[in-house]
Amino acid sequence: MTQLSLSDSRDLRTMLFGQGSFKYWALVPLLVVLTVFTVLPIIQLLQMSVSELEFVEGELVSEFIGLRQLDNLAKDPIVGIALKNTLVFVVAVVIIETVAGFTLAVAISRTKTLSILYRSVVIIPLLIPPVAIGTTWSLIYDFNYGLITTILIELGVQNPPLWTADPDLALISVIIVDVWHWTSFLFLIMLAGIESIPPSLLEAARVDGANEFRMIRHVILPIMAPTILVAMLLRTILAFKVFDQIFVLTSGGPGTATQVISMHIYKVFSEQFRLGYAAFLSLLVAAFMTIFVVFYLWASRVVRRRLG
């Protein structure tokens, strides 16, 4: 970042003062929020992660156990499976939803008359609470009274798929629901990005005789690259935390086919009330994610350089 060139302005001192003060007070509200609401819980979490906590005679007693949490991790039969499923889920939904969200954003940005219809419809899945989405889709998928099976049987299909009851199809079923639910998230961010592109740029390209595809590839995509990458990053973090929707749809089954890490942490924290181990797992996942994000930011810089 370069300094603003202010040297030739008339009232340098006031301006510097004004600039300086704005720089600070613009950040103050955020810092207040973060300090008041996040610092203490995270410190407590760090303490918990090296302890074992238990209620004894009504008091929460904490015992330091240090890195013995690693033993708990080694004994945990679910955490490996859950991480694997989570990774598959995250990679699949982020890629599919990014492609779909971008395509939709480009397409809808070209429409005029029906634009308002498209924009409103696309927001709808986001407004339904995840529990309702989970139960609705479990009704749609249900083998005995569900919509899809009923239709397929009417059409004369002999062995309709079992969807969430088939260990090989369960994760795919969950991914389908997620794509329906969350593509709009990426769509909204990308549409905002496209709408921020100065129309003059697109006009210039059109005058130069670029066809639609070339315009997307050489004008829109490079400008949009940072937005797309940020949207993917936010979606990745969100997908990593997927919980309610799967909890209602499959509860992690059949077998362990749809166990994901956030559901496992919830179980350890709430049902098993192993606060220490849950804190440890939370931090472990966050550390894992941070490494991923750092790598991602580095990689995205490389990509941006290529495209730019």
Binding site: G58, T164, P254, S270
Partner: protein, 448 residues
């Protein structure tokens, strides 16, 4: 009977409750007892109760209304979704002063809350209190033995049962009558019936709950004498899956759960079992007793009037072991005495015999043996209340240790894997055996 139930909905139910309370006041016989009760219950400060929304909740809510009407004491309800109950209770008991004067605790959370010392002992609230002997014990669910760390008959009184839910075996009485079949007492008979009546996809012979495999499976494990863990006479604990019967129980469960079930057997929850039975596509099922009133509700079910219920079958008729899944009402330790007393006053009122009768008719699940026996011949609820009464001598409590959540985690995971052949039954059993042993040893129990 069917005709009578024809247009009976929950709305009618609540109407009936209104009529009931009116008739209680009008009926000189009952009216007296109600009036006596009203005199017994002194004016109390308003209280707040944490309760979950459930099929028996309208019955509970109706009783709360009745209590307010009769005594003038105000009760607020925090109606919370079932999965949120544990966290909400835990938060409340950790605060400076609990926001709730009474909390409903489901059986599987009893060990945590009893053992944590977060609840007020009942005798500290009311030194005169005695648990009526007609209230079913449910494996001493009201008492905690601090020395052994389990529920025990000599334990300290920490809660009062308010919902007597257990497992029942349900069947289609019309089909059984047509085929001349008696309800089964053993798993063998259950399998034979499944074979005889099953005609998929129209009618399935049997289906088991897969999501999760724990509570109902407990009735198998206990019947095979292979309880997940058991306190032996010598004071040590044994692990059921280390006995050969453990494997037999698993194999029996897998067979009964898969052989006659719909193809999506691996994804069936309690709601699916209810749906299959209520839509007339299941001949028999072993499931939660509190679901019974649903089958008489024409909004939900088309089999009202054709249902029968009895004790859950076992390996032998003598070894039948339906599990309990009941609720107790407790009072947090971080409450001033007068608030706890106001909460307990309602619980006492709720668990009297007459009020338990009204409770059952309003769709809730009573906790008294005398209530069940009196209701056994009732033409609306008799078909299931008689099964409850009949089940009492066979009841087995949940595995109630503070470590149960860890044991449950192992069992639900391994059984889910075995159910879809991710691992074999033998592998599942040996994994569960070693995992449960580790849990027990790590927690400091002596394991034989």
């Amino acid at each position: 009977m069917n005709k009578k139930l024809g247009n009976f909905s929950r709305r009618d139910f609540l109407k009936a409750m209104g009529a009931l309370s009116a008739s209680l006041a009008a009926n000189p016989l009952l009216g007296n007892s109600v009036r006596t009760l009203a005199q017994d219950v002194m004016s109390q400060p308003p209280i707040t109760i944490l309760i979950n929304d459930s099929p028996w909740f309208p019955g509970f809510a109706a009783m709360v209304e009745l209590y307010t009407e009769i005594t003038g004491n105000q009760i607020n309800l925090d109606v919370t979704p079932f999965p949120g109950m544990l966290d909400k209770t835990r938060n409340a008991v950790q605060a400076g002063e609990s926001e709730y004067d009474a909390v409903a605790i489901t059986e599987q959370n009893i060990p945590f809350f009893y053992n944590s010392g977060l609840l007020k002992p009942i005798l500290e609230i009311d030194p005169e209190f005695t648990l009526d002997e007609n209230i079913i014990s449910y494996g001493d669910a009201a008492r905690w033995d601090w020395d052994l760390g389990v529920n025990g008959p000599m334990g300290e009184l920490l809660g009062v049962p308010i919902n007597g839910n257990i497992q029942l075996y349900y069947y289609r009485r019309d089909l059984f009558d047509d085929a001349g079949i008696e309800p089964p007492k053993t798993f063998d008979e259950m399998e034979a019936i499944a074979e005889q009546l099953g005609n998929p996809p129209r009618m399935f012979g049997n289906a088991n709950r897969a999501n999760p495999i724990w509570w109902e499976f407990g009735a198998y494990i206990d019947s095979y004498d292979a309880e997940y863990v058991r306190l032996e006479d010598d004071g040590s604990w044994s692990v059921g899956f280390e006995r050969p019967e453990g494997l037999e129980a698993v194999q029996r469960w897998l067979n009964l759960g898969r052989a006659w079930a719909p193809q999506n057997y691996a994804d069936l929850g309690q709601g699916d079992l209810l749906a299959l039975m209520a839509s007339g596509r299941l001949a028999q099922v072993h499931m939660v007793g509190a679901a019974a009133p649903n089958y008489d509700n024409p909004e939900i079910s088309i089999v009202g009037g054709n249902m029968g219920a009895t004790v859950v079958p076992g390996v032998t008729a003598e070894a039948r072991s339906p599990r309990t899944g009941m609720w107790v009402m407790c009072h947090p330790a971080n409450l001033p005495d007068e608030r706890a007393a106001a909460g307990l006053e309602f619980v006492k009122w709720l668990t009297t015999k007459d009020n338990q009768l009204a409770y059952a008719k309003a769709g809730a699940i009573p906790v008294r043996q005398d209530t069940y026996e009196e209701l056994a011949t009732d033409e609306v609820v008799g078909w299931w209340t008689s099964a409850f009464a009949e089940s009492t001598p066979f009841l087995h409590p949940e595995t109630r240790l503070p470590e149960t959540p860890l044991i449950r985690d192992s069992v639900t995971t391994r059984m889910a894997q075995a159910y879809v052949d991710e691992i074999s039954a033998e592998e599942a059993v040996s994994l569960m055996a070693s995992e449960i042993r580790t849990v027990m040893e790590d927690a400091g129990y002596s394991v034989s």
